[in-house]
Amino acid sequence: MKNNLILYIGILIFGIAAPFVFPAFKVQLSILCVLIVLATTWNIQGGEMGYNSFGNILFYGLGMYLCASVQVGMFFPLAEWTESGGEKTFVHTPAQFFQGMAVGLIVAAVVPTIVAGLIGYSILGLRGHYFAICTLGLGVAAGEISGGIEIIGAGQGFTTPPFPDVGSLDSRGEFFYFLSFFVLVLTFVTVRAIYTTRFKLILNAIRDNEDKAEAMGIETMKYKIIGWMISAFFCGLAGGIMGGLVGYIDSTDVAFDGREMGVFMVLMAILGGKGTLWGPIIGATVFHIFKEGFWTFFLGWQYVALGVLIVVIVIYFPEGIMGWLREKYPERFGEVVDEKDRKAQVELK
């Protein structure tokens, strides 16, 4: 426990110092924070609850559009803004920008949560691959439909308000880095707190055998919906930040990007190890470093590499890094190992 405290403080200090130590990587670090948030929250229902969703991208994209729309719509007419395509006819003052961002982020977090609660009852009743395909369809449908709505830019995209001039030049990177880092810390603290309660045990019971859990008197549907709502809350928040960070929202390439972000979050959680607290964090970090390296060296071939990577990870490495560590050093995970028994099993193989 004492070890862990030192670890947490170390990470916190590193997180706060990071943008000053690596000033060139501020945007990358912010994206990393967002990726970790997405992987961690995917893990809540993908890893702990056993409901493998491709549809969390729905909440992410929804949050992105909502945050930007609120930020613009609070001060200027939204339709004219999207029509002008980000021309400098409307300029946010710093106060307007930050106010809009704050309200926008709150809306971006709350509305997806409500949406998750509303659709949760119908969709979380699906099991196994039906759930996976249904959520996949949901994400793509959202992308296709939002690409046809005029007021949020339709096919030509939506430019989010540019960061206002507040003195120093680098403040944009720092602002978004600390915002995303704050959300990351918030997510981690919440998820860690959740994982120590009975709620996590219920989620695991649902994963292991839902019918039995129901027979034991657990209202599984209620907990499934709550789990999904928690995911949606942080996904929406992450989406809102990412929208401001990228500066441009397109329905199928940025917001509801099931082909990229929607698969990334699943892949990161699996790479790190499903159903562990640290797995998604490690997975996201490794994945992001790997991806950035790949994207620079294999420019143009990145999606080919991504496809191969998915297949390789899923087939040869489904337990993830944490699973592999657990296999290798079970003692560190608090498991008591009977050496004799272990040897006997190895011999049997």
């Binding site: 009743g125 296709e144 080919v304 496809g307 297949v311």
Partner: protein
């Protein structure tokens, strides 16, 4: 929103006929999906990309001056071996694993194919022109391209051939036995590994035929695969596994639905409406099943 389709009955007739001819093609793809789902218990997200790949084979024949209709014979042969290669490389490692693993693995294959096709053939929307002309019906009010009628005819022909093959041939019987009980089939001397490979190959070949027909009738594009996967998945869950007339009927129903959605909502919402329909069907199915579960209580 545009309700012209209800004011002019001929437009409805046009949409219905178009939809039925389109739906027969969907049903062919869905048949392949049902086959591998039933036999190997795998949902292949890359199904649509196999279709598009088959389409590009026909398109290339067209580019080199061969009539694209020959693609109907060439594409399945090539796609059969592509299917076997995919099976040997990836699918045989996920067959008896968790379903989600197979979904994710085939999703990876889908992304891979999408990008490779994008590199190889470019990101343009293409079609192989067959020069078949059109048929006018009902006082020239309804226009049907002959290529659509041709593709529906070929699809039905292939489906019938496959049904007979499944019923009569040795491999067909082995496939059906494996679908019923893989373990028992293995005990009785069926080489299930070979059966799985053949099933996946046949599925890919069917996709190849459908793709060649789609490239003649409609257009193809490297990124258009996923909607075909979703359509075939939807048809299979509506019809149920192993229900061939049901697959044909629900395929046609989906085709008609799409044409009407196209007229009423506009073309930009066409794909979106397909995906929404999938979500609605799954939700409907979930409530129907939960009612059944309550009876059991």
């Amino acid at each position: 929103m545009d309700f012209m389709v209800f004011q002019y009955p001929m437009i409805s007739v046009q949409a219905c006929l178009d939809g039925i001819l389109l739906g027969i093609l969907f049903a062919l793809i869905a048949y392949g999906m049902a086959l591998q789902w039933g036999v190997m218990n795998i949902i292949n997200i890359a199904q649509g990309d196999l279709v598009i790949l088959g389409g590009y084979i026909a398109y290339f024949m067209y580019l080199y001056g061969i009539h694209p209709a020959w693609g109907v014979i060439v594409a399945p042969v090539i796609m059969y071996f592509v299917g076997i290669a995919i099976y040997k490389l990836v699918i045989n490692k996920v067959v008896d694993r968790d379903l989600f693993i197979s979904i994710l693995a085939t999703f990876g294959i889908s992304i891979l194919f999408m990008q490779l096709m994008n590199f190889a053939f470019g990101a343009d929307v293409v079609l192989a022109n067959s020069d078949y002309g059109t048929t006018m019906l009902f006082n020239n009010n309804v226009v049907l391209p002959n290529s659509k009628i041709f593709s529906a005819f070929i699809s039905i022909l292939f489906a019938i051939c496959l049904v007979i093959y499944m019923k009569k041939s040795k491999l067909g019987r082995a496939i059906r036995a494996t679908a019923q009980n893989a373990r028992a089939a293995k005990i009785l001397g069926v080489d299930t590994e070979k059966v799985y490979a053949a099933t996946f190959g046949i599925n890919a070949a069917l996709c190849g035929v459908a793709g060649a027909l789609i490239s003649i009738t409609f257009t193809i594009h490297p990124y258009m695969g996923l909607p075909y996967t979703i359509r075939s998945f939807m048809i299979v869950i509506v019809a149920g596994l192993g229900n061939l007339p049901g697959v044909a009927m629900s395929g046609m129903g989906l085709g008609v639905f799409e044409e009407f959605a196209d007229y009423i909502l506009g073309t930009e919402f066409r794909i979106g409406s397909v995906f929404l329909l999938l979500v609605l069907i799954l939700i409907y199915r979930r409530f129907k099943l939960s009612r059944k579960r309550e009876y059991l209580k």
